[in-house]
């Protein structure tokens, strides 16, 4: 636990390095960019930054991290607390801004021309006390992936409520298993006890009209009959239309089952669209996406707002170069490339009307509708305590899904835990 000691050493060496950098003329630098590795992001990164590398003469090295956002956060927090100079840019989750704001450079001045081109709500989510902590590079909102061919085969319509989804998934699963595929499942999603379960469960609860765990004004709303109903519905899937192992699945495990053709429905982020249509995919051309189902016909669909941003470390030795890279990655050129190669949703409004994107990834203009239904996680009202709130929430949900206690009991305990955590104010 000697981070403090290490931090002091690192910081003083950062000062020295900065001084020497100022003394010598500008030369080509190697910039380190750290990001979680999901799908084909690592392979695509080289192509993505090439134009910037050629224009500036600098090189970028990607430091890949585990796909789990919770794992990334832990590591980044350590590096930043120690004032590590090794990493210049961090790819940050949409929920991290309030927790890591102190360690990043304020980008509002550098991005004063670029920022207004983005969706204002996303820029807002990355602004903490007037400081623009990170620039959005793509946004994320999950959707329901469904197998067109199987829906046609069994004469099922695209489900709009969770009950319809349950019935359709069961019907297709029974049919496919009878046809000889014993490993076929109706619906796969992310049930591991981690941030992704918070996203999934927030969608169930919100789409049943059960609020969003902690409301924007800070009220804890999670313990209500609609939320109980939502969790009971989801619990009914485990072991019936979803494998029991779904309680250990993250995005990539769900995609693995889906992309090998062993699932009828999947809840996942847009990145799975491009990969599902890859040449090595068993479901290529056989699937489409829709907005996630809702509780009853009167409710509205909900999709958790995800998305990734780029932040410049305060401890970087090459801040100016790093800022230039951040502006490039958040700019129209890089976002367009990402949209086409990785089906990542742009955060620049104008790109939704771009003809090239519409031709290469026809899904993206359609996704605008999903995105408009997006619900933010309660990271803004809960500030520095968000991770603990999320952890308590996903634990309560995971317990419920595993059959340890009823939804009503677990949510009641959760409410009291959150109230205690909140104290007098978040």
């Amino acid at each position: 636990m000697s981070y403090g000691f290490k931090g002091r050493v690192l910081r003083s060496s950062a000062v020295l390095a900065l001084a020497s950098a100022l003394a010598t003329p500008v030369m080509a630098e190697e910039i380190f960019y750290v990001s979680g590795a999901v799908g084909n992001a690592v392979e695509n990164f080289k192509t993505l930054v090439k134009p910037w590398e050629e224009a500036t003469g600098n090189t970028v090295t990607l430091v890949p991290m585990p796909a789990s956002t919770s794992d990334q956060f832990g590591q980044y927090r350590l590096w930043l607390a120690a004032g590590a100079t090794d990493i210049d840019l961090y790819q940050t989750d949409v929920i991290w801004a309030p927790q890591l704001a102190d360690h990043f450079v304020d980008l509002s001045e550098a991005a004063k021309d670029l920022a207004p081109q983005h969706f204002p709500s996303i820029i807002q989510s990355q602004t903490v006390n007037g400081k623009l902590v990170a620039l959005p590079i793509f946004t994320d909102a999950p959707a329901l992936y469904y197998r067109k061919d199987l829906l046609d085969k069994y004469g099922v319509a695209v489900p709009t409520t969770w009950d319809e989804l349950t019935a359709a998934a069961q019907k297709i699963q029974d049919g496919e298993r009878a046809a000889g595929n014993a490993d076929f499942w109706g619906y796969v999603w992310q049930g591991n006890a981690y941030e992704g379960l918070t996203c999934n469960a927030l969608e169930w609860i919100k789409s049943f009209g059960g609020g969003q765990i902690v409301e924007p004004d800070g009220t804890i709303s999670v313990n209500n009959p609609n939320a109980v109903k939502a969790l009971e519905t989801a619990k009914g899937w485990v072991g019936t239309i979803s494998p029991e192992g779904v309680l250990a699945y993250q995005e990539e495990e769900a995609r693995g089952l889906w992309q090998t053709g062993n699932a009828a429905f999947m809840r996942n982020w847009p990145y799975a669209y491009g990969l599902g249509n890859g040449d090595d995919s068993a479901v290529k051309g056989k699937f489409a996406v829709a907005t996630l189902p809702k509780g009853t016909a009167d409710d509205t669909s909900a999709a958790t707002l995800g998305g990734w941003n780029v932040a410049v470390s305060k401890y970087s030795k090459h801040q100016d170069i790093a800022i230039s890279l951040a502006l490039y990655l958040a700019g129209p050129e890089a976002q367009k490339q990402r949209a086409i190669a990785e089906t990542n949703l742009p955060t620049i409004v104008a790109l939704y009307d771009d003809a090239d994107i519409a031709a290469a990834a026809p899904i993206i203009p359609q996704w605008k509708e999903v995105f408009l239904n997006a619900v933010p996680r309660p990271s803004a009202p809960t500030l520095g305590k968000y991770n603990e709130v999320s952890s308590k929430f996903w634990s309560a949900v995971h317990e419920t899904l595993s059959g340890n206690g009823s939804a009503a009991d677990n949510l009641e305990v959760l409410e009291s835990d959150l109230t205690e955590l909140k104290g007098s104010a978040w």
Binding site: M1, D102, N192, G245, K385, S395
Partner: protein
């Protein structure tokens, strides 16, 4: 420099024993300095942090708050008394219980299995050297790698364990080993036992090879049953080596982290003391609280070792024998 001076001028005034002690000190000094930097200093820092309200965003801004991270008692205006802190945190005690359960079961299984393996390896047979080397492979693989490997093998849909068990007819449905809170602990135990049995076997084997062969020959001539030989001769003679092996393993098991962090990171059924303190230290904004848990972990380990040494009369001095 001082050592050279004193050795030169007063060398004759010191007895040989004193001179050797002096030399030994200077040989040990670099190691003591290194130990102070990497063990004692961080430990002291952690204890200090646990008595403050430090957060990871500002490591130098913590204020002294006494023992509130461990236990604080507040009396409300209504007269109701509330207890807060690690010592009354059910999540912490759940982790303590998990750790103890994990340690006892894994070390017990590893000791028994390790001893069995060692007895086999102690016998003379062709290719013994090769088998001895081969059996060490699980121990040689870094834990992160073996944990990830097992995570894939234990995967419910494409894992090889489920596939084999299904084909053999041991199970009828695929089991979600790491997802199900009933089987998560078994999965973790299985991997740990697989990984560390070779270590125990090696230490037991070292003990076995110290046992003089002629005792066995005498027992054989007297016609003693092999089981009796094992319990009356082998076990008592390798007990000192076995006790040291168990203490090493126990210390390792009580602070288990990497295996569980990779296999079942957030499952309440397997969260150990190390896992929960890391969670508070880094994931949550509770650096000081996590430091308090780390300190408690250290205290628990220290108490355990003292108890073990006292109860087992383990001789760690290196003089051998009793």
């Amino acid at each position: 420099m001082t050592s050279a001076n004193t050795a030169g001028s007063t060398g004759n005034g010191l007895s040989l024993h004193q001179q050797r002690q002096k030399a030994a000190f200077w040989f040990l000094a670099p190691m003591l300095a290194a130990l102070f930097c990497v063990a004692a200093w961080p430990l002291m820092r952690t204890v200090w942090f646990s008595l403050t309200d430090t957060s990871l965003n500002d490591l130098y801004g913590g204020k002294w708050i006494g023992f509130d991270n461990y236990l604080s008692v507040r009396t409300l205006a209504s007269g109701k008394v509330i207890y807060r802190g690690t010592l009354v945190d059910p999540a912490w005690w759940n982790a303590v219980w998990n750790t103890v359960r994990f340690s006892v079961v894994s070390v017990l299984c590893e000791t028994v299995l390790g001893l069995m393996v060692a007895l086999v390896l102690n016998a003379e047979f062709r290719g013994r050297g090769f088998v001895r080397a081969a059996i060490l492979i699980p121990w040689a693989i870094p834990t992160i790698v073996s944990a990830k490997m097992w995570a894939w093998m234990l995967n419910d849909q494409y894992g090889i364990i489920n596939d084999m068990a299904l084909r053999l007819g041991l199970i009828t449905d695929k089991v979600a080993w790491t997802a199900n809170s009933d089987t998560a602990m078994y999965a973790v135990l299985m991997v740990d036992i697989w990984k560390t049995t070779p270590f125990m076997a090696l230490l037991c084997l070292a003990g076995l090879q110290m046992v003089p062969r002629d005792i066995y020959e005498a027992a054989k001539i007297d016609g003693i049953h092999p089981v009796k030989v094992f319990f009356r001769i082998t076990l008592p003679l390798i007990r000192p080596a076995l006790m040291v092996a168990v203490i090493f393993r126990m210390l390792d098991a009580l602070r288990v982290f990497d295996l569980i962090y990779v296999l079942t990171p957030n499952s309440k059924a397997t969260k150990t003391m190390s896992v929960i303190s890391r969670e508070n230290l880094i994931d949550f904004d509770k650096f000081a609280y996590g430091s308090a848990q780390s300190t408690l972990l250290f205290v628990i380990l220290a108490v355990f070792v003292l108890l073990y040494i006292w109860l087992g009369r383990v001789d760690l001095s290196g003089d051998g024998g009793k």
